[in-house]
Amino acid sequence: MTRITDTFLANKKMGTTTFITYTVCGDPNMKSSLNILDALVESGVDIIELGVPFSDPIADGPVIQRAVERTLKNKVSLYKTLNLVRLFRKKNKDTPIVLMGYMNPIEKMGYRRFSTMANQAGIDGVLVVDLPPEESEKLTNSLKKNNIDQIFLASPTTDDLRLKKIVRQSSGYVYYVSLKGITGSKISNIKMVKNMVGKIKKFSNLDIPVAVGFGIKNAESAKRISTFSDGIIIGSSIVELIEKHHNTSTIMIKKIKSFTNRIRRVLNKK
């Protein structure tokens, strides 16, 4: 059992939805970034997706692009991201951390080296946005050897045949991209999302959890999605708060906490 699986199971037992957030490592700076992770956990976030900065983030909207550019100015790298997780793990042994990013920095580090270092740092899962299952065999093997879950994306354009393959290859959870578009867009068709989440559940023998992301912006959309999804993922809205308040870190932390608290409350009340 991994920390990710445990988290989903525990939440299911309590009748609540797993709350996942995404922030970019090192945004607005390394120190605040660590404080933000702690604040997220304190205000009820269950799993942390930590973005690894990459110069060409093709699946991300303007909010996350700008965050990545901020961090690259400070030379935040995959190494530094692993380091931040190491620091986080000194105090927190329970909250699963998923690295989310693009292929090339991992490619540069080398699959084996990356996987062992990620394991040592206390990383639970890896999601590589531009790595569909067809291209992933070598990285998958290397992650497996290090007991790291690999999360794959499913999208509205994924057909049944591929969906089955994605469900089979994913561990931890399946990340359902709720819309055709980039991060920070708005969900327009909840029914379709529900339908696809249902399909993923049907195709999974092991009852793998499904988390929905891209397009959940506030408590209202979180609540609606949580009625049929095991987990919800919020990224851009939090990154936007960081951008807006990065000059005054106490206010920034306060704003993030109140936002995530509100989401936690609606998820618990569903």
Binding site: S77, E107, K108, D130, P132, E135, K180, G181, I182
Partner: protein
């Protein structure tokens, strides 16, 4: 050495040995597969080929001639330099071969909206032209830096009815324009076809663009045989993403011909300020495919430099990476300065103003012609240089 059948690539997964593939987020897999299917079903049909060839003949002005540059050849020694005149195509470069082919394919697929990325603006102009010709809506993404460098082409695209969107993210150049086009495509996949301008990007693009550009090599072969009774000894083309180069090289891969690709050496390879991933880069993953790229030690894509906006790209088509590793093609580089000199020499001696991109191929051809004896060298003159007049004049501090 093991004999390779070059026609068998890419394989079913879109790979050229270890290069190429489909490194994209899940949402793009479906449209890419849909495009691949449409391409094999439609574009390979004789009906489509007939339509396409008619466009090339009557609209583009093909076949383009091969011109023997006698004056320069004599100046340099005993080699004969021939130019494949892609600059004489409608819109002034080889880019139209691909843009028209893909626009025609998009039309057959029922798409109503075209997006494209552009660096120097040549592909943007070609795409905008094809869209005007086939009545398709056209959106061109262009880096804000490039918009400043290529104002004439921006205006041309606008005249042709395209919506030119400046890209302000990252380095504000070609690679960022490509990122933004991919983001648009993910969002509008239902009605939109993305015309990539080079042999870069995820499968099936490197294959589709190569096939549409192969007309350059196929014609060259026929023309050389018909006029000079033999194939050239050496082929030379510039390589940014590498579409004009692969277009010339591909039909010759099984022939006894020496093939050379010329990358943009910028201020010199040793300065690091260049755009020559095959000379000074490593295999990595960028824009949906595995290929040689320029990156820093963290795996972040480097900013590149070339005087020629069309070569200013940190990656290269995956087929070129494979042709490099398999040693079938040799990849060299020339500096900004060498390219500018070649630009000037061709203009003055032959009365042909080449694009700065093509001037890179010329510069290497001139160097080689001095060293070799009695060789025939065919250079792909991929585009005309009108668009570069501003760059050249400001370099020489002349006000037009």
């Amino acid at each position: 050495m093991k004999k390779i059948n070059y026609n068998k690539f890419p394989d079913k997964q879109g790979r050229f040995d270890k290069y190429g593939g489909m490194y994209v987020s899940e949402t793009l897999i479906h449209p890419l597969k849909e495009l691949e299917q449409a391409y094999f079903k439609t574009a390979k049909s004789s009906n489509f080929k007939k339509l396409y060839n008619k466009e090339l003949l009557h609209y583009v002005g093909r076949p383009t001639p091969i011109y023997y540059a006698s004056s320069i050849s004599k100046l340099l020694g005993s080699c004969k330099i021939y130019l494949k005149r892609e600059d004489l195509n409608h819109t002034g470069a080889h880019k139209i071969n691909n843009a028209l082919g893909q626009a025609l394919l998009a039309k057959k697929m029922g798409k109503t909206r075209i997006i494209a990325e552009t660096g120097a603006g040549q592909h943007g102009v070609a795409a905008a032209t094809a869209c005007a010709r086939f009545n398709l809506k056209c959106v061109v993404y262009m880096g804000a830096e490039d918009i400043k460098r290529q104002s004439v082409n921006v205006y041309r695209m606008k005249l042709l009815g395209a919506n030119v969107i400046p890209v302000n993210s990252g380095s504000k150049t070609l690679k960022d324009a490509l990122n933004e086009a991919l983001r648009d495509w993910v969002t509008n996949v239902d009605n939109t076809h993305y015309i990539i301008g080079s042999v870069a990007g995820p499968h099936p693009y490197p294959m589709i663009v190569r096939d549409f550009q192969s007309v350059i090599g196929i014609e060259s072969k026929k023309q050389m045989k018909a006029t000079y009774k033999k194939l050239p000894d050496i082929l030379i083309a510039c390589v940014g993403g590498g579409s004009n180069a692969i277009g010339l090289f591909y039909p010759f891969l099984h022939d006894k011909v020496e093939i050379i690709g010329v990358e943009a050496g910028g201020f010199g390879i040793s300065t690091g300020k260049h755009a020559a991933p095959l000379n000074d880069g490593k295999p990595g993953v960028l824009h949906g495919n595995r290929t040689y790229i320029m990156e820093n030690t963290d795996g972040q894509i480097s900013e590149t430099h070339s005087i020629s906006a069309g070569l200013d790209y940190p990656g290269v088509g995956p087929e070129h990476s494979w042709l490099k590793d398999s040693k079938r093609v040799k990849y060299v580089s020339v500096t900004d300065k060498e390219a500018v000199d070649a630009f000037q020499i061709l203009t003055e001696r032959e009365g042909i103003i080449p694009a700065l991109e093509s001037a890179h191929a010329l510069a290497y051809a001139f160097k080689l012609a001095k060293k070799r004896k009695n060789k025939s060298i065919l250079v792909n003159l991929s585009g005309r240089g009108d668009k570069d007049i501003d760059t050249i004049s400001s370099l020489k501090q002349i006000k037009i």
